[in-house]
């Protein structure tokens, strides 16, 4: 655990594994829609457009082969959501998993919340290594025994068996949302969580499925007056009363649930004044926040908009403390990105274990590592070409204009169909999971 997930660009990232089919022909259902490590990092869950959840488990550390420590293997796969049809509104409800959130571990089993557009489900993933044996009236294979031979009672006995991992639905939180759910977040009190859709945020108790409390409602009385929507929401990692939500207008509101039951009035509004020199037709679209994440220590939060990542100090509302350009070279391309709808892509972002580096995705299967302490950044690529075990990832450069240097890629040759929207960072170690369309790449710090 060198550097405890610390090191940024000093870290050499190398390929570890790739999951998913190799052929270029991608089935829609296989497209990965969310990636999430659990709190220990031992488990990694992905959700896809087909409504499936796949959980990978980290192999236990092998002392003789330290390079194999981060191998993740399939632990459990289950169908979390099915396609549905809302007959009252004549609407199809996709099975696509929008978000997965792990619950802090409460006993030997693991629990996670998964959600599609409308329904949140609580799943239990548990192991079973014993099964009962011995019947009175029949043999183990099901044949009925001659009853005349039954003279004494047999009590079944548990015997060891091959390990079996079961996923079972424990709760279904339905009918809480009129619009599409974009976020779920578990409260640090470990008994409640929030779910946010385009216009409302609801708070649920993890054990109560038949009611939730509406804590934010930005729906105007007249829908024609609608000017902004909620794009993401998250609870503070330690303060159970604090949560934030981001909007399509590029603002983030921080609410204190202690103040009142309905949090329509925010207690802080984070907003950076717009730079008039950059104003264009696309300004509002690209300032829409696609993801917001608190740092592990709870002091900062990070937001991702179309072109940049911003880090905000919770104590300073008027501007971010750090701003990183993710792919500034696209600014001149916004027109074509608007035409092919890419401008509406929702990129997510994540923190490393000690909040010193952040990661977010881009196009052409590029992803960016932004080192906060050294104000340095690097672009890496998740590709089949560099999939040899322990192969070190080479930094990539995009030519921003002018003369293209050797090793540089021209903006025009970027593949906008290959985008990395979802990434996750192991909570303690330098292990990252990067989802390309239908593949999950796992990279780790090179160990010498």
């Amino acid at each position: 655990m060198a550097g405890a997930g610390g090191g940024g660009n000093d870290v050499q990232w190398c390929f570890s594994q790739v999951k998913g089919a190799i052929d270029d022909d991608v089935a829609e259902a296989d497209i990965i829609s969310t990636v999430e490590f659990n709190h220990s990092g031992e488990l990694l869950a992905t959700g896809d457009k087909g409504g499936r959840v796949v959980i990978f488990q980290q192999e236990t550390e092998n002392k003789s082969q330290p390079q194999c420590r981060s191998e993740y293997n399939v632990y459990s796969t289950f169908q979390s959501h099915e396609p549905e049809f809302d007959y009252l509104k004549s609407l199809e409800i996709e099975e696509k998993i929008n978000k997965i959130r792990w619950l802090p571990q409460k006993n030997a089993a693991q629990f996670l919340l998964s959600t599609n557009d409308k329904t949140i489900k609580l799943w239990k993933i548990s192991e079973r290594d014993k099964r009962p044996e011995g019947y009175n009236l029949k043999e183990e294979d099901g044949r009925y025994r001659d009853a005349a031979t039954i003279t004494t009672l047999r009590v079944p006995v548990f015997r060891p068996m091959d390990l079996m991992v079961e996923a079972s639905p424990r709760r279904v939180f339905a009918n809480g949302h009129t619009y599409h759910i974009n976020s779920i977040s578990v409260n640090s009190d470990n008994e409640t969580y929030l779910s946010a859709d385009d216009l409302r945020i609801n708070m649920w108790h993890l054990e109560i499925t038949d009611r939730s409390f509406n804590i934010v409602d930005i729906k105007p009385a007249n829908m024609e007056e609608l000017t902004e929507v909620i794009t993401a929401a998250e609870f503070h990692p330690h303060q159970c009363n604090t949560f934030v939500y981001s909007s399509s207008k590029g603002t983030i509101r921080l609410c204190d649930m202690r103040a009142s039951a309905l949090c329509d009035k925010h207690s802080k509004l984070f907003e950076e004044p717009e730079d008039p020199s950059n104003r264009s037709f696309f300004s509002e679209i690209i300032s829409s926040i696609s993801d917001v994440k608190f740092s592990h220590n709870g002091r900062y939060m990070m937001t991702r908009d179309y072109l940049s990542v911003k880090i905000w100090d919770l104590n300073m509302e008027n501007r971010p403390v750090e701003t990183y350009q993710v792919h500034e070279y696209l600014r001149s391309k916004l027109c074509s990105l608007y035409e092919n709808d890419c401008i509406f892509d929702k990129f997510e972002c994540c923190w490393n274990g000690n909040d010193s580096v952040v990661m977010t995705g881009s196009y052409n299967n590029f992803f960016r590592m932004l080192d906060r302490s050294q104000q340095r950044d690097v672009t890496l690529e998740a590709s089949r070409e560099s999939c040899k075990p322990r192969q070190v990832l080479k930094p990539r450069r995009v030519c921003a204009g002018g003369k293209r240097k050797k090793d540089e890629i021209s903006v025009d040759s970027l593949d906008f169909n290959k985008k990395i929207l979802h990434t996750a960072w192991h909570p303690q170690e330098n292990i990252i999971a990067v989802a390309t369309t239908n593949n999950l790449y796992i990279f780790q710090e090179k160990v010498n």
């Binding site: 802090p104 409460k106 006993n107 089993a109 009672l153 079944p156 006995v157 159970c240 202690r258």
Partner: protein, 598 residues
């Protein structure tokens, strides 16, 4: 199951028959069908009896200990069963054999199962001898308290208070230490569990430890960073306050409670408001006068509506429990001004919470004060825009009636009732109907005939069935109050008049009313006035009316004399029994057989 039993029956009838049902029960402990497993678990005592105490201990309990993978409802039933299992394992001497399965149930993730397991553990703790308690039970509590997962640690919190009184002083010290540790656990779940058991634990502790240990734990939990923990400390504070001598309360508990009443989080203040009456009883009259009165005023004026509503709910109880010598002064000078403001609160839940208790103040304040100060408030609430507020006032009229008589209110009452009776929401209309008999009783027959009777009749032709149904039931209750003679003069003619209504639904309402009224009106009115109308309706062109005639005849049959049944009812039913409509036939035949007219 049937297949199995068939196989068994065919195989040999000569085996021990008594074993068979037990064998089935045991096998079904692992049936794929949850319902069958549940069924078996619920008959666990039968299985244990058949196995005998020794096999229960050595075979059944080990099996049950491992069976924690099952569905919640099965585990819940198991946890409950094990609490009553002492005799089945061989009595108190062996009761500790039940600890392993209950221990594993106390660590499952489902709160209901864990709570039930803890409840059963508490139950069987009393069946342990003092020695067994220290040798078996207390180590289990320690194991749970130091478990890796919070589920086991939360379960431990509920077990300290049952073993503490019965163990040696060394073990007592250990238990106190464990409880202290859990109060500062890393996870809020455990701190919440500890906070919710703090009061109960304090009750079994020696007073010196209450003062030295519990107070500091209480203070710490009440200033926890998580408001979900702080709010639970409020209730603990109430319990602790009852344990301490008056002179210690001020120094040890009140600062913390005062702080809770002004907590930054509305949920904590809500909890204080919700527990206010208990708190008031716990701290006694002096502190109530000096501290709680201003605190209560603040809660009634709180910025969060949820808090104001919780406090408004307690207004009557709080006033009732004020010390007698200063009750009236405190209410008049401190509470009533706040109450007056709440009457025009912006939030309807606050107003309706207040409306459900405000009438109770009249008995406390007496006639003069009620007329001068409360009456204007009642009248204002009777005119409130929110129907729930008006309903809550009307439903509590009896309190006022005792003090000033309802006449004072009747002039305002009437428009309020009429408006509710005609409310666009049928649930509101339904609610006011339910209060009609009560109102009728208090307002008297004259007032009723003059003002309310027409409303009751109008409901009979409401376009919502639930209202028409409630209206019929209401008529029956009114007749019970005012008597058969009143019925014959005022409502029966009107009800029977509807039999000629062009709308068949209204004609059916006549029948439903007759069903409800025949018994309270008695044989004479039924035979003389109602029966002819029913007979006439047997020729109705709508089949639904005709089969309801059959149903009505069945219903009122017992009120009629046998001669009338044979000579008048029977022919009509027989005619209906040969009706061309299948439903009419069916109900006519049913009536014939129920009335034994065949």
């Amino acid at each position: 199951r049937t297949k199995q039993s068939l196989a068994f029956k065919m195989a040999g009838a000569d085996s021990d028959d008594s074993l068979y049902p037990i064998a089935v029960l045991i096998d079904e402990l692992r049936n794929e069908d949850v319902q069958l497993r549940l069924n078996s678990i619920k008959k666990l005592s039968t299985i244990a009896l058949a196995l005998g105490v020794e096999r229960t201990r050595t075979e059944l309990l080990p099996f049950l200990t491992d069976t924690i993978y099952d569905e919640d409802e099965v585990l819940l039933a198991l946890a409950e069963q094990l609490g009553n299992f002492t005799m089945l394992v061989g009595g108190p001497e062996y009761v500790h054999c039940l600890l392993p399965p209950l221990e594993s149930l106390a660590t499952v993730e489902e709160t209901v199962v864990r709570d039930k397991a803890v409840e059963s553990l508490r139950k069987i703790s009393h069946e342990h001898s003092p020695v067994d308690l220290e040798v078996h039970f207390e180590p289990l509590v320690k194991r749970l308290a130091s478990g890796d997962w919070f589920t086991s640690r939360t379960s431990a919190c509920g077990l300290f208070s049952v073993c503490y009184p019965r163990v040696s002083s060394t073990v007592k010290a250990e238990i106190r230490q464990h409880f202290r540790t859990l109060c500062s656990d890393d996870t809020p779940m455990v701190r919440r569990a500890a906070a919710s058991k703090l009061g109960e634990f304090a009750k079994v502790l020696e007073l010196e430890y209450v003062k030295s240990d519990i107070i500091s734990l209480f203070t710490a939990l009440a200033s926890d960073e998580q408001d979900s923990v702080r709010l639970l400390a409020v209730e603990a504070g109430v319990s602790i306050a009852t344990l301490l001598p008056q002179e210690d309360l001020e120094a040890l508990v009140m600062p913390t409670l005062r702080q809770a009443a002004e907590d930054k989080s509305w949920r904590v203040r809500y909890m204080v408001a919700d527990k206010f009456s208990d708190l008031q009883k716990a701290v006694g009259p002096e502190i109530t006068k000096n501290d709680l009165v201003p605190a209560f005023q603040n809660l009634l004026k709180d910025c969060e509506a949820e808090v104001r509503a919780a406090a408004a709910n307690k207004v009557k109880e709080f006033c009732e429990n004020l010390p007698e010598d200063s009750r009236e002064t405190i209410i008049m000078t401190h509470i009533l001004p706040c109450v007056k403001e709440l009457v025009s609160d912006t939030n309807q839940h606050v107003k309706s919470a207040l409306a459900s208790v405000i009438m109770g103040l009249s008995t406390i304040l007496g006639k003069d004060n009620t007329i001068e100060h409360l009456l204007p408030l009642f009248l204002a609430q009777l005119k409130d825009e929110c129907p729930e507020v008006r309903l809550n006032i009307i439903s509590n009229l009896d309190c006022v009636n005792e003090v000033i008589g309802i006449r004072q209110l009747s002039q305002s009452l009437l428009p309020a009732i009429v408006e509710l009776a005609e409310d666009a929401k049928w649930r509101v209309r339904l609610a006011i109907i339910e209060y009609m008999p009560l109102l009728a009783g208090q307002l008297g027959v004259e007032f009723f005939d003059e003002k309310l009777n027409s409303l009751c009749m109008a409901w009979l032709v409401d376009h919502v069935y639930a209202i028409r149904e409630a209206a019929t039931c209401n008529l029956m209750k009114l007749v019970e109050k005012f008597g058969a003679e009143w019925a014959q003069n005022t409502i029966v003619p009107k009800v029977l008049g509807m039999a000629n209504d062009p709308n068949y639904l209204h004609r059916m309402t006549t029948l439903f009313c007759i069903n409800a009224l025949s018994e309270v009106c008695g044989q004479e009115i039924t035979t003389k006035h109602m029966l002819p109308v029913v007979f006439k309706m047997s020729n109705d062109q709508v089949a639904n009316v005709r089969f309801n005639v059959a149903k009505s005849l069945q219903k009122i049959g017992p009120v009629l004399d046998s001669n009338c049944l044979q000579t008048e009812v029977k022919p009509v039913l027989e005619k209906l029994a040969s009706d061309q409509d299948i439903d009419v036939k069916y109900f006519a035949q049913e009536a014939i057989s129920v009335l034994s007219l065949a």
